[in-house]
């Protein structure tokens, strides 16, 4: 009976709480998420304690910090709950991992492919980051042109298609956003026309 209850509790815990989990041997990376929530909760709680009471404020107004304190405490408590449930799952019998949607983490992929995918993703993040920085430095048009060419070439698109697609994209943005809608896009330090 005890085993039965334990198994049932395990299923409920697994089905409600734990992602990427094989009961019985949760990987250490599963602690990342409760730690993340806890960190966020504590940061927001400490920030909430620094919010000053306004000079002009209705005496019945709970104040600008109220919702921050309430939610940060809730976040801390729920992240602690998640951590406790992780501990409980460790003690319960194994339950087959439910398969839900694509495994974006590719934990089942081989180490070589995972490393390569990770490198690709990091390169992608870096290129996007440099592009956004470039927009404010050299203007939207030039930065977008450079980004388009770099990113498409990284993906192995032919020069012809790369140049065509980048030019078409930048020209569309120019015509629609600047000419039609009158939205001013960043011109950069050199104050380029586009």
């Amino acid at each position: 009976m005890v085993r039965r209850d334990q198994a049932l509790w395990g299923k409920i815990v697994v089905s409600t709480v734990e992602p990427n989990h094989t009961a019985g041997s949760p990987p250490k990376s599963n602690w990342l998420l409760p730690a993340f929530w806890m960190l966020i909760g504590i940061t927001f709680y400490l920030g909430a304690t620094q919010i000053k009471t306004a000079i002009v404020q209705d005496k019945h107004d709970p104040g600008p910090a109220a919702i921050c304190l309430l939610c940060s405490v809730a976040l801390i408590l729920l992240s602690a709950t998640q951590a406790v449930q992780l501990l409980l799952v460790r003690r319960t019998p194994a339950v087959p991992k439910p398969t839900e949607g694509p495994d974006v983490t590719r934990q089942n992929a081989g180490p070589r492919s995972t490393t390569r995918s990770l490198q690709q993703a990091l390169l992608g993040v870096a290129v996007i980051g440099v592009y956004i920085y470039g927009v404010s430095q050299i203007g939207f048009g030039l930065a977008s042109f450079a980004f388009g060419i770099t990113s498409m070439k990284c993906f192995g698109v032919s020069w012809r298609h790369t140049l065509l697609a980048t030019t078409a994209c930048v020209a569309t943005v120019y015509l629609v956003f600047i000419k039609l809608l009158g939205i001013l896009l960043p011109t950069g330090r050199w104050d380029l026309p586009y």
Partner: protein
């Protein structure tokens, strides 16, 4: 009857029809561009309508408001980037269906349900406008507080699937993120760290583009396999990795789509009612209506269907899309009867009414002006179908380009969309940050929808709570005084209990105990 014929004769003239259709195509374009909202579409059309006859101007602004809301579903389906906040709820299932090679069919169903929802919404608008407007006027701060909290809870329970706790954590995180910036009541700084760019808070649109768009791009780069081959097939989604992946050459399957719509008539009916009731409440808007309808469709579905929500089920597309256009129609109820705007779009349109010399109120109904508006709204729903099909086909062509090109263009358009909201480069960094956050959270299977919902509803929950407390002189028991309060609070409690019960039932039935012993 003669009035109706007269109105139709007035409307079907070239000088009204041409700007009307052009405005609707403009609405399709703006609505399907992430970062450009339906509100922005209406705001941009009004200056163009100043020099036109009053009837043409009215047709333009009403037409653009409906089409922009539908068009938001196009990138939501193909790219998983909701074009407008009202499309966020439809994103969950529509994108999953598109991944299964049903993008065009999903959008056709989406389009027809939008038009149908709009038609029914207008019919309800015409028949029960005064009564619903009176009900909306009964809502005070605490009623709105409970309504927003109920919307938030419904969103969490529905969109989190089996991971309710993660959904709740994400929603609370969203509410906390929404508190960043100057407090709207007292102007006290909150979590700004001396950065004046944060004074107006974390802009919602860039955050949404980042969470749903940039994170998807980064994940696509992670999955991308050049390998020197033309294409690789994602085993789980079964789509071609070399193209945009969601490009759909399959026919629209009109007959099958109509059958699906016919089979889901009860869902459409309940979603239209939900959309109308929520849309008719000032300030609630089409986004809350869509989430509410999605939640109700989930709750009323069979257990087998409930498990499929979020992984690509027609009900998950039909419910929010029928509700959001019905909500747009319903938002006109308080606007036309009392001059109280139902949402941001109608607020802008009410401002434009003054320019057109139209005064909302009972006189509008007695003078016949309301009938003219009703006729425009109704015909807009019919014009929405051809205009929407053009939008789907054009967007589909764009999606058939190689994936590398589409991903690069998505990044460029996302940067423009994030920047264009406030002309602030800082918003682009917000988008980037939220993109990284989205990648991390989704890699840990944290649902993103509750986070977005927390960011949308968080400020409303806080504002109504504080307004309620001030008006009740600090006595929270006042939040349980009216019948509406009690009904909404009871619904909230029932929703929480049901979701827990369902989770436990699913856990106990899906994995028989004997199997593990």
């Amino acid at each position: 009857m003669s009035d109706l014929i007269e109105i139709l004769q007035d409307l079907f003239t070239l000088e009204i029809l041409v700007p009307w259709i052009l405005a609707m195509i403009f609405g399709i374009f703006v609505g399907s561009t992430p970062g450009l909202t339906a509100t922005m579409a209406v705001a941009l059309v009004i200056p163009l309508s100043y020099n036109l006859p009053k009837e043409a101007a009215l047709a333009m602004v009403i037409g653009v408001s409906f089409t922009a809301i539908f068009a938001g579903d196009i990138p939501a389906t193909f790219l998983r980037i909701p074009g407008t906040p009202a499309s966020a709820a439809a994103t969950l299932d529509a994108h999953q269906l598109a991944k299964k090679g049903k993008g065009n069919q999903t959008l056709l169903i989406n389009l027809l349900c939008s038009a149908l929802g709009g038609v029914l919404g207008v019919v309800i608008l015409m028949s029960v406008a005064p009564q619903l407007a009176k009900l909306a006027l009964l809502f005070s701060s605490f009623e709105y507080f409970w309504l927003c909290l109920l919307g938030l809870t419904l969103g969490v329970t529905v969109s989190s699937g089996n991971y309710k706790l993660l959904g709740a954590l994400a929603a609370i995180f969203g509410v906390l993120l929404a508190t960043v910036g100057n407090d709207v009541t007292t102007y006290q700084e909150r979590y700004m760290f001396g950065n004046s760019d944060l004074s107006t808070g974390l802009s919602f649109i860039p955050a949404m583009i980042g969470l749903f768009g940039i994170s998807e791009v980064i994940r696509a780069v992670y999955r991308y396999n050049p390998a020197g081959t033309a294409a690789t097939i994602d085993q789980e989604t079964n789509h071609d990795d070399s193209s945009s992946g969601l490009a759909d050459d399959s026919p629209f399957k009109v007959r099958e789509s109509l059958q699906i719509i016919a089979a889901n008539t009860p869902t459409i009916a309940q979603s239209v009612v939900t959309g109308t009731v929520i849309g008719g409440l000032p300030g609630a808007g089409a986004d809350i209506a869509a989430w509410g309808a999605y939640g109700i469709a989930h709750k009323t579905a069979k257990p087998v269907e409930q498990a499929k929500f979020g992984s690509g089920i027609w009900k998950g597309v039909i419910a929010p899309t029928s509700a959001n256009n019905a909500a747009v129609a319903a938002a006109w109820i308080p606007a036309l009867v009392f001059g109280v705007p139902g949402d941001a779009v109608t607020a802008i349109v009410l401002g434009a009414f003054l320019t057109y010399d139209i005064t909302p109120g009972p006189e509008l109904f007695s003078g016949g002006g309301a009938n003219f508006i009703f006729a425009i709204a109704m015909i807009t729903q019919l014009l929405l179908i051809p205009a929407g099909l053009v939008g789907i086909l054009l967007f589909g062509k764009f999606m058939r380009l190689p994936r590398a090109i589409v991903l690069s263009c998505v990044v460029i358009f996302s940067v423009v969309g994030a920047y264009a909201m406030n002309n602030n480069p800082f918003d682009v960094w917000i988008m980037f940050g939220f993109g990284l956050l989205g990648v991390f959270l989704e890699s840990r299977k944290v649902p993103l929808a509750p986070l977005i919902l927390g960011m949308i509803l968080g400020p409303k929950v806080e504002t109504y709570f504080r307004q309620g407390m001030i008006s009740a002189q600090g006595d929270f028991s006042n939040a349980f005084q009216s019948t509406i309060d009690i009904v909404l609070f009871s619904s909230l409690v029932i929703c929480i209990l049901l979701s827990f019960g369902l989770t436990i039932r699913r856990a106990t039935t899906s994995h028989p105990i004997s199997a593990t012993q």
